[in-house]
């Protein structure tokens, strides 16, 4: 009897072990209404894979890098999302695992890469120094947005008069800026100068248009001592200091400002902005996204392309299962596109994009000419230094030349040149 019960209990134990659940802890950023899609996808995956438990942790976007970093020190994360500005740090410091083709049912990494649009993984931050570590969760690019109702009210024609060059952009801005008692009550253009990332992203396009190479650390450094770089930089700062079309004190967040009708143009909106606009008083039929203006003698480059990828942490125990989960997570682009969120997976029906995203042709066309952002592990510091350079000119009356010269020193310190 004793031997039998021992045998039975061992069998019982073993069977319990084999159905012991594997846990995959996933960190993602919160953005309604997409949170529900992610949670539902996790539930569906668990239904298909009963021995796996997916624990999704949603944090505010700004907190995500900190959260993932601390989780990595404590061994508390297996997969995570990260924007392409931050992901190079994680890839460069060896915290991410390479793509495992078998988890996707493929034989080579290149076959996996080909499941997405050409260049998508690079533009969304999943590629670093020759290796692929992430798969895209979102890909967006910036267009310029104009309030056509304001234009009409000022006697402009929303078809003919939309700005195609930066010169026109400035002139339209001047016409559309409103003042009362010398205080600007409506900006002709606006950008968030508090958070360095936004000026950085606009400058990126301006610099690339002037023939500079802001897709590499060396290129960025070089641009700071060129005439083209100075011109790009000054074009931007002049909007506030000389052209009188931008008062940073009117409001902080240009996405909100545009939605509230307090600025007539802005340069940092992707396809997702349509959904955002619905929460504000300005109506969809009062605005229009257009191609980024160009310099008359500049290169044909549009607004920046950026995105988010999802990664497997190197410390994850079962990397193959982790990649299976991520592949599943990223296999439903049709669920996201209805909200205007674009995932560059080849399986996505192109007609859906055109259907759900008004003026999609602007974004889609521009994507080819979008500027690819620098992939640098020092991004946070570089972005901060550029933001400081802009603030020096705007708020400290420093000249553009002096500010760029100081920026050059800062960059040399950061890159330890």
């Amino acid at each position: 009897m004793k031997k039998i019960s021992l045998f039975v209990s061992i069998l019982f134990l073993l069977s319990n072990l084999s159905i012991a659940k594997e846990t995959i802890r996933h960190i993602h950023w919160t953005q309604p209404p997409y949170d529900e899609i992610i949670m539902q996808t996790a539930k569906d995956f668990m239904a298909k894979n009963p021995n796996v438990e997916i624990k999704v942790q949603l944090v505010a976007d700004a907190d995500m890098p900190t959260k993932v970093r601390t989780a990595l020190t404590g061994g508390g994360v297996d997969t995570f999302a990260m924007p392409n500005m931050q992901s190079p740090w994680f890839m460069a410091n060896g915290t991410t695992a390479e793509i495992i083709p078998s988890a996707f049912g493929k034989n080579t990494v290149q076959e996996v890469v080909d499941m997405w649009l050409p260049g998508a993984i690079k533009k969304t931050g999943g590629f670093y120094e020759g290796k692929y570590y992430g798969i895209p969760h979102e890909m967006s690019n910036y267009a310029a947005w104009v309030n056509t109702a304001h234009m009409k009210a000022a006697g402009l024609d929303p078809e003919r008069d939309i700005p195609k060059t930066w010169q026109e952009f400035k002139l339209i801005g001047k016409i559309l800026t409103k003042k009362e008692n010398n205080v600007i009550t409506r900006n002709g253009f606006a950008i968030n100068t508090k958070a360095a990332i936004f000026p950085f992203l606009i400058l990126h396009s301006l610099m690339q248009q002037k023939g500079q190479d802001w897709s590499s650390e060396k290129g960025l450094h070089k641009s700071l001592s060129t005439k083209g770089g100075l011109e790009a930089f000054s074009t931007f700062t002049n909007w506030a200091t000389r052209d009188g079309i931008f008062d940073p004190g009117l409001f902080d967040n240009e996405r909100e400002g545009f939605g509230n009708g307090l600025t007539s143009q802005f340069l940092t909106g992707g396809t997702w902005y349509w959904g955002v606009l619905d929460g504000y008083s300005v109506k969809r039929n009062e605005v229009m996204p257009i191609k980024y203006p160009r310099f008359k003698d500049g290169k044909n480059i549009g607004g920046v392309a950026y995105g988010y990828c999802v990664f497997v942490a190197k410390q994850a125990k079962n990397k193959e299962m982790a990649w299976k989960w991520l592949n599943y997570l990223e296999s439903h682009p049709e669920k996201y596109i209805v909200h205007g969120w674009f995932q560059p997976r080849k399986s996505l029906d192109k007609n859906l994009a055109a259907k759900y995203i008004p003026n999609y042709e602007v974004f889609g066309e521009e994507f080819e000419y979008a500027a690819a952002i620098i992939a640098s592990a020092n991004f946070a510091e570089l972005q901060d230094a550029v933001g400081a350079a802009v603030q020096r000119v705007l708020f400290e009356d420093t000249s553009n030349e002096d500010s760029l010269s100081m920026l050059k020193d800062d960059v040399e310190n950061i890159l330890e040149m």
């Binding site: 508390g76 909100e256 955002v276 504000y280």
Partner: protein
């Protein structure tokens, strides 16, 4: 006439201090587009409860659970803080033991280093102790307040030594003296400590953010921060939950400050 002036002054002060809060409450009844609109409208055009009802509808955000977490953590952290601060404050103030001043400076030095500097080492320590993502992991670090020790020490100084001495002569143990004589005398200070510390713990964001990994363990400040979206912040909802979040603290404050009693009862010397 001075009285009228006094009331005018009080009302002006109240307006200055309360106006932002008033704006918060009133804006939680507006739709998002109205909150930051210019020209400024202080009162809503159409009062709506949407922000509050929406809070109940966010499927992954279990606000009542977050409230519960905040209540549990705050209650125990404040309790532990009061215990540690009153005992330590009393010991530092009323006894001349070896290295008293040195120990006090060491304790006080813990508020001289910014919390951000110790977050990471503390996190690693908590992980090694197995306390991450737990109530204890929140309660213990959040009960630490050298300011509280400082506060109690200053107040215990004003308890006359004669009372203590006479109690000793009467044969009372040190702990009895502490518990039955000194603590009642410092009631006002203890209430002040409870008010300060509970609002500090309740509004803490950085530490819970680092140590909590499962959504069920979130505290209220994290929930409020979650509303600040990348592209879009639903202000009415964020303000609604901020208003709800400060109500418990307001209740604690009103209740305790009513109980600020006057004077020291000089029982021993009568």
């Amino acid at each position: 006439m001075i009285k009228i002036f006094k009331y005018i002054l009080l009302v002006s002060l109240t307006i200055m201090f309360l106006f932002p809060f008033f704006w918060m409450v009133v804006s939680s009844f507006k739709p998002t587009s109205e909150v930051l609109a210019i020209p400024v409208n202080i009162l809503p055009k159409n009062w709506q409860l949407d922000a509050y009802t929406n809070l109940l509808n966010y499927s992954e955000y279990d606000f009542s659970r977050y409230f519960l977490n905040s209540i549990i953590v705050t209650f125990f952290a404040v309790l532990l803080a009061v215990i540690l601060c009153t005992t330590a404050g009393y010991g530092f103030a009323k006894y001349k033991f070896k290295y008293n001043n040195l120990y006090f400076i060491i304790v006080l030095s813990t508020i001289m280093i910014p919390f951000q500097a110790i977050v990471v080492p503390l996190f690693i320590l908590m992980k090694n102790l197995g306390l991450q993502n737990s109530y204890l992991g929140l309660i213990i670090p959040e009960s630490l307040t050298a300011f509280g020790v400082f506060l109690m020490r200053q107040f215990f100084y004003s308890v006359p030594d004669e009372i203590i001495e006479s109690a000793r002569i009467d044969g009372a143990s040190e702990f009895r003296i502490f518990w039955n004589i000194a603590v009642p005398m410092a009631k006002t200070a203890i209430f002040a400590l409870i008010i300060f510390h509970s609002q500090w713990v309740w509004n803490l964001l950085l530490w819970p953010l680092i140590i909590i990994s499962s959504p069920e363990m979130r505290t209220i400040p994290q929930a409020i921060a979650l509303f600040s979206g990348v592209y879009f912040t639903p202000y009415p909802e964020q303000l609604a939950i901020s208003v709800l979040a400060c109500l418990p603290l307001l209740v604690i404050f009103v209740f305790l400050s009513k109980n600020f009693t006057k004077g020291i009862t000089l029982t021993g010397l009568k």
